[in-house]
Symmetry: C2
Subunit: 138 residues, 2 copies
């Protein structure tokens, strides 16, 4: 019987490999690792402005500004001027930019398929019930 840490580590590898594989499928050679990181954080932070994004990434505002300019030029990102504060603009992902998140969804779907093939209906229900408790609690 394996212990919990080994299981987590295995799960981490499973997810990591699926993400790697999905990246190859989605053919995003035009983006660097760093640029993907920006796009993922714009998604997670839900349309941040440049100041918020810079703080999250621990980078200076000019650095983030230049990086975002390039992502706008390549049509992954666009700006929406804030109503509340005319100095500020929110960063949004274009359909092309959202592709990166769809890539993550794709990876998750692949793993879900693998799991379905390996477990009985009862085991699946048990897994869902227990992990729901882990994810929702507190």
């Amino acid at each position: 019987m394996k212990n919990l840490i080994e299981i987590i580590s295995g799960l981490s590898n499973l997810l990591g490999n699926a993400e790697e594989h999905a990246k190859e499928q989605f053919n995003l050679q035009s983006l660097t690792l760093t640029q993907m990181h920006y796009i993922e954080n714009i998604h997670v932070l839900n349309n941040p402005n440049i100041t918020e994004l810079a703080a999250t990434l621990n980078l200076s505002k000019p650095t983030v500004k230049v990086a975002i300019d390039k992502l706008i030029e390549k049509a992954y990102v666009f700006k929406v001027q804030s109503d509340a504060d005319r100095r500020s603009a929110h960063l949004h992902l274009t359909e092309k930019g959202k592709l990166i998140n769809q890539m993550h969804d794709f990876a998750h779907k692949q793993i879900a398929e693998q799991i379905k093939h390996k477990l009985t209906a009862e085991e699946q229900q048990s897994l869902i019930a227990v992990l729901t408790k882990v994810l929702l609690e507190k």
Copy 2:
């Protein structure tokens, strides 16, 4: 009741956040995202030579050579000349370089702790049994 894909997505976030948090704890500001990627792949590929690493990362050999030179200079990596082929050298991680992998272990430990706090002993056993089946099968 949630479905499996949502669970996987939640799990992915849980792992991602733990890794992010661990990175902050381990204070690896001297390394860029890309450099960490090199180090992780040297670990995963188990002491590859430059040609193998370049193929895995889809980068040219001169690019990888220059990057590795910098990681050697910063004492994250060292080379070991191959016995079998005198042209070739295997890349190894120094203790400092292995810190990145210890960081992953730390993240996994944190998640294991979280799970232990949220589940009863029976639920933990059930989770381990089912995930062992997922990870070991075929």
